[in-house]
Amino acid sequence: MIELERVTKAYGGRRVVDELSLTVPEGAFCVLLGPSGCGKSTTLRMINRLVPFDSGVIRVGGEDVRRLPPEALRRRIGYAIQSVGLFPHWRVEDNIATVPRLLGWSRQRVRNRVAELLQLFRLDPDTYRGKYPHQLSGGEQQRVGVARALAADPDLLLMDEPFAAVDPIARAALQGEMLRIQRQTQKTVVFVTHDIDEALRLASVIAVLDQGRLVQCGTPVEIIERPASGFVAEFVGGETSGLKLLGLLTVAERMRPGEAAEGEPLPSESSLRDALAAMVARRADRLPVVDPSGRPLGAIMLADLVR
């Protein structure tokens, strides 16, 4: 879906993005992860040409991004940023409708799309469509911002640390929404963050950047189990990366089918970290496991967590 081939961007003599090559498959949730100044935001903004790049090629959907006029390119790509950037003088409805209107959609189609998106983000359309941004909470503003990015139904969504400025509870909720929506709509997402936990939770593939270079590209489990360098190992939590790994694996993957155990059962789709937490809390080293409908499946033991 997106191909970056040896893309370079320099300010003065300093390379902010250095011969970066990356492929993002269609339908992937690709997280660009790295410390401040590693070039992840710059890379994101080169995809929709907000930042011009010096050399290399970037293709979206097979097409060289420099071949289209920038406005046309951007209207086909959703863009959501940390500070949201909602237009304060427009109501929620008009904010969301921005790109559809630019594309000449009919009034009814726009109206329906706004309602559909508000419902997707669990905001009641009748209550929210007429509100102004200053009347919304931070979490609601960010939801509207992402809804606005999705309004024209783009295949690609670019997100630049969108949840960083929101309180942790709202952030967790937004991450959950984002996962749900991406799974439902199968859109390709490129998501910038410096938060390793956010990356592990959301990504299907993580691209770790350092000083403008791609250091490692892989699934969350790969990044933790086989970090390509000391830098990556440190970044994913060093000594604590084991606990993060537990958060990525499910009980279903490690349980023993058919066995029995006492106590309140764990859902099979819960993470190994939840299992560990339950075991510690109940002082038990084995717990029963059930499927989503409550049917008993087996048991999981403490030893299974470190197999």
Binding site: R45, N48, L50, P70, E71, A72, L73, R74, R75, R76, Y79, I81, Q82, S83, V84, G85, L86, F87, P88, H89, T98, V99, L102, Y132, P133, H134, Q135, L136, Q141, G145, R148, A149, L158
Partner: protein, 262 residues
């Protein structure tokens, strides 16, 4: 937080109308404008020996119409050019010209309007034209300064989001920057117009018909009532205009002043 986001169509009940200060000031102003001769006995009593007690070379109404016309023309020109220059100075192409534009506005304000008048007369003759020129330069600074400030307070995130969504530069200016800068721009125009109303009086020294004519006539002929009549009318006109602008500002305000940026 008080909700001040209201729709543009605000309905005015008859009671509101009656309590409106704008209406009372307007009524007073127009009453004096047209009915000044009615106060003849008052001025006669206050200033015995001055004839005539009320300025009567021209009607005050005619003076006001001419005065208002000069102010309107000069302010309209200053608004168009001033806002245009401010927009230019905030574009990538015009950024280098910003200090120059600032300087121009500054000179326009500090150069005494009377001097501008004196310099303009040989070129443009007597009457309203040199007055227009003087008012134009004098009114540029508030408009340019306020427009610049207004455009620059548009949050960078808003502009970035607009650009990232695919709005063209012109669309961003028209749909995002100017509407958000409008309160500041309007404040600048309001200031410029109000000052111009007072400054326009000096046009009478070069033969323009303004509400300053009775003032200067009165000073020259030592007839104090003329001065008072002219000055009171100018002051009321300025106050009334300022109040109307304030109303306009309030009605156009969509985002409360103390709202946090989205």
């Amino acid at each position: 937080m008080k909700e001040r986001a209201v729709s543009r169509a605000g309905a005015w009940s008859a009671l509101q109308l009656l309590g409106s200060p704008v209406l009372w000031v307007a009524a007073l102003f127009f009453a004096l404008l047209i009915g000044m001769p009615v106060l003849r006995p008052l001025f006669q009593w206050a200033f015995p020996g001055v004839t005539p007690p009320v300025f009567e070379r021209t009607t005050f109404l005619a003076l006001w119409l001419s005065h208002a016309g000069i102010v309107a023309a000069a302010s309209a020109a200053a608004a168009v050019i001033g806002i245009g220059l401010a927009v230019f100075a905030t574009r990538p192409a015009g950024r280098d010209f910003r200090p120059l534009i600032n300087a121009l506005a500054m000179v326009g304000q500090t150069f005494p309007p009377a001097a501008v008048l004196a310099l303009a007369v040989p070129a443009l003759g007597f009457g309203p034209r040199p007055t227009l020129v003087a008012l134009f330069f004098y009114g540029l600074l508030p408009i340019i300064e306020n427009a610049l400030a207004g455009i620059e307070t548009v949050p960078a995130a808003t502009r970035d989001a607009a650009e990232g969504m695919g709005l063209s530069a012109w669309q961003i200016l028209r749909d995002v920057e100017l509407p958000l800068a409008m309160p500041a721009i309007l404040a600048g125009v309001r200031l410029s117009v109000t000052i111009a109303i007072g400054t326009a009086t000096i046009g009478s020294t070069v033969g323009a018909l303004t509400l300053g004519t009775p003032i200067f006539d009165g000073l020259a002929a030592n007839k104090l009532p003329f001065v008072i009549q002219g000055a009171v009318l100018v002051a009321l006109f300025a106050i009334l205009t300022d109040m109307i602008f304030a109303r306009l500002e309030r009605r156009l305000r969509v985002v409360p002043a103390n709202a946090s940026p989205a």
